[in-house]
């Protein structure tokens, strides 16, 4: 992201802000890095987070990890950032590389590796928080000069090897992420990335531009970890997807592909299609005649984006804030998961003031050559994982819009639901599903009774106990596959079955599917001895939708220890009925069945 000047950042950070979610973050480093703080805090605030940086003592990474130093690890942090700046840690690998004999280099590499392994091990013993570790920057001016590029154990090759080692160690530590500092260095350029005055005078190697880029990259990870990843890109058409105005220049007059500026718009579309392929929903919001825009999509062969990639279309003469609200309602997503891109400053400002939750992206037509990179570098859609379902999401949302159109025409709701021929599968969670489940826990805000953000590792530990049941819900109908749309986790203790988590994707609501899912999970818990089903509703800003979920299913409010309002349903007094128009299949894992 691009940052304003420090004075403006400080002013904005000093303003009171409501509704920020606290995000304490431990930062371990062996150099002075305090200069990244305003940038990191500013980026986090844009994502609704109040980032509180807790600095580990200077040059005390391992000590902090072991619980010494300032004691910043294991104090409720939501992330741990580590920066082991190599030239400060190892003079031989940083500055004196050409001087070191091969055996010395090897020994020094082993020392760095041991330090990494020991730190990770100590961190994991003390904290389950996600670890974000900044990789080593390759030397821009390697010690062997031009010869380095052809040496198998040259300066840059050795640093590359260390990065590979670090990435592998992080992957095996679990919930730990390699931040590619080399990318930050490349974007800024080594001449601008470092400020050697600061290095020699304050042990701080990076320039303002360098720190801003590092903060931006860390910020992308924080955003994804905090579940603030944006899901939907709403695109203007004229002078955003193509050059010119279709209403004035005509279908054949607008510029797409070919020479500049058409070439820049075509490649911008390519970037949007990359996002689509990563699971971002695309929508159109344009002041135009609906048919003109559709004709461009259907008849201009240079168009990279096709009608099939667009999940929701609002091409009309209404104001854009209203249109974006309608798109959000049609797709059943929150405004805070949307990004609106337009070439017009007026439209951007309108949406900014009317719908502050929507992130906006100004794409000036006069700088059409920059716009592809603007979209590619924003990081707003970055997620910590990419599943097969992410890849198919665009199609699923498009099918949903088709269903809604049918519903608008159906007169009897029961008949309509029956006509969908819905089939649900309730499947016990296996190891392969854990990424997807963790993602659901992180991303689901509205239909989520408790909003417990379980990580992959937590889920794996819970799933290992036979008294616990973890089930995924899958749905398909005559229009297509919804994929995995729900997750339920129950824990049986004696006669009590606690519903720890019950969540569903909002795109499957209003069909009785949640009732069938709850009934099936209740039956599974009952088979493990849980005769009283108990669950809590923990209210958040977003989940009012499910405030009456338990009462609606015959549960009685009770007093019980633990957050939220608790409810219970006694198996002997009442059961939950599966709606007649739903076909339910239960898939238990074989091992699990044997275990019970």
């Amino acid at each position: 992201m691009t940052f304003p000047r420090l004075a403006e950042i400080e002013t904005e950070l000093a303003l009171p802000a409501n509704d920020l979610v606290s995000f304490p973050c431990a930062f371990l480093r062996n150099v002075t890095l305090e200069g990244v703080a305003p940038y990191m805090r500013y980026a986090a605030r844009r994502d609704g987070l109040d980032l509180e940086l807790r600095w580990g003592a200077y040059d005390n990474i391992l000590q902090e990890a072991l619980g010494g130093g300032s004691g910043v690890v294991g104090s409720g942090e939501r992330a741990i950032v580590v920066s082991l700046w190599l030239p400060a840690f190892s003079e031989q690998l940083g500055l004196a590389f050409a001087q070191a004999k091969p055996a010395e280099v090897e020994a020094e590499v082993a020392r760095v590796q041991e330090y990494i392994a020991a730190t990770l091990c100590a961190l994991r013993a003390r904290s389950a928080a996600p670890i974000l570790w900044l990789g080593f920057e390759p030397p821009a001016w390697p010690s062997y000069g031009i010869l380095d590029a052809t040496m198998s154990h040259g300066h840059r090759a050795v640093i590359r090897g260390l990065n590979a080692y670090l990435a592998t160690e992080l992957a095996s530590a679990g919930n730990a992420w390699f931040i590619d500092s080399a990318q930050c260095l490349e974007r800024v350029g080594a001449r601008q990335f470092y400020d050697w005055r600061y290095w020699y005078m304050a042990h701080s190697p990076f320039s303002r531009a360098g720190m801003a880029e590092l903060a931006s990259e860390i910020g992308k990870h924080v955003r994804a970890l905090a579940g603030r990843t944006r899901k939907c890109l709403v695109l203007d058409c004229d002078n955003t997807l193509w050059g010119g105005i279709v209403g004035e220049d005509g279908i054949d007059g607008i510029r797409i592909g070919g020479e500049h500026p058409g070439s820049s718009y075509r490649e911008f579309q390519q970037e949007a299609l990359n996002l689509y392929s990563r699971g971002v929903i695309l929508a159109l919001c344009s002041k135009n005649n609906h048919d003109d825009v559709l004709e461009v999509f259907r008849t201009r062969p240079e168009m990279i984006l096709r009608e099939e990639h667009i999940s929701s279309i609002r091409v009309n003469w209404q104001d854009k804030a209203t249109n974006i609200r309608e798109i959000a309602a049609e797709l059943n997503i929150g405004l805070d998961s949307m990004v609106f891109a337009d070439d017009s400053e007026f439209e951007i400002n309108l949406v900014r003031s009317e719908l502050p939750e929507v992130e906006t992206m100004l794409l000036p037509a006069a700088q059409s050559a920059e716009n592809r990179a603007r979209l590619a570098s924003c990081g707003l859609f970055d997620a910590m994982a990419l599943t097969d379902e992410d890849r198919a999401r665009g199609q699923m949302y498009r099918a949903e819009v088709a269903r809604q159109t049918l519903r608008a025409h159906a007169t009897d709701m029961g008949e309509y639901l029956a006509s969908l021929e819905m089939r649900i599968v309730v499947q016990e969670v296996g190891d392969d599903d854990l990424d997807r489940v963790a993602q659901l826990c992180l991303r689901t805000n509205q239909f989520n009774l408790t909003t417990h953000r379980h990580t992959r590792d937590e889920l794996a530990a819970i799933a290992a106990k036979p008294a616990n049941s973890l089930h995924l819900l899958k749905l398909s109908d005559r229009y297509g596959d919804y994929g995995t749309i729900g997750f339920c986790m129950t824990m049986v203790q004696g006669a009590e079955a606690i519903v720890d988590t019950f969540l569903m994707s909002c795109r499957a609501l209003g069909r009785g599917v949640e009732t069938a899912f709850l009934a099936t999970c209740a039956a599974a818990a009952h088979r493990k001895g849980g005769t009283v089903l108990r669950g809590a509703y923990i209210p958040t800003k977003k989940n009012a939708l499910v405030a009456d979920f338990y009462p609606r299913h015959g549960f009685q409010p009770i007093e019980r220890e633990g957050a939220g309002q608790w409810y219970e349903l006694d198996w002997n007094l009442g059961r939950i009925a599966v709606p007649p128009y739903l076909t339910v299949t239960v898939q238990e894992m074989r091992e699990a069945t044997e275990r019970v």
Binding site: L6, A7, T32, G35, Y198, M201, A202, S204, R208
Partner: protein, 79 residues
């Protein structure tokens, strides 16, 4: 340096050091202001370079030992 310009400079210094602008007087230095350490000193350099669009030399950075020196350095660069 004109009074308005000096007020601006003073407010930048006060903001970075997180003290009241009134504290920034002729004698203000790392010896009199507790928050003025090597870290905030560099943050001061950050802020001044960004605000005035200048690049301070190593000598100038080392020379900013008391507030009037900062005034003189910035004044000299804006001439």
């Amino acid at each position: 340096m004109e009074q308005a310009a000096e007020q601006k400079l003073k407010s930048i210094v006060a903001r970075v050091l997180q003290v009241d602008a009134a504290t920034i007087n002729e004698g203000a230095s790392p010896a009199t202001i507790a928050s003025w350490d090597s870290l905030t000193h560099m943050q001061l350099v950050f802020a001044l370079e960004e605000e005035y669009g200048v690049t301070l030399t190593e000598h100038q950075i080392a020379d900013m030992t008391v507030y009037p020196r900062i005034v003189a350095i910035i004044d000299g660069m804006n001439q």
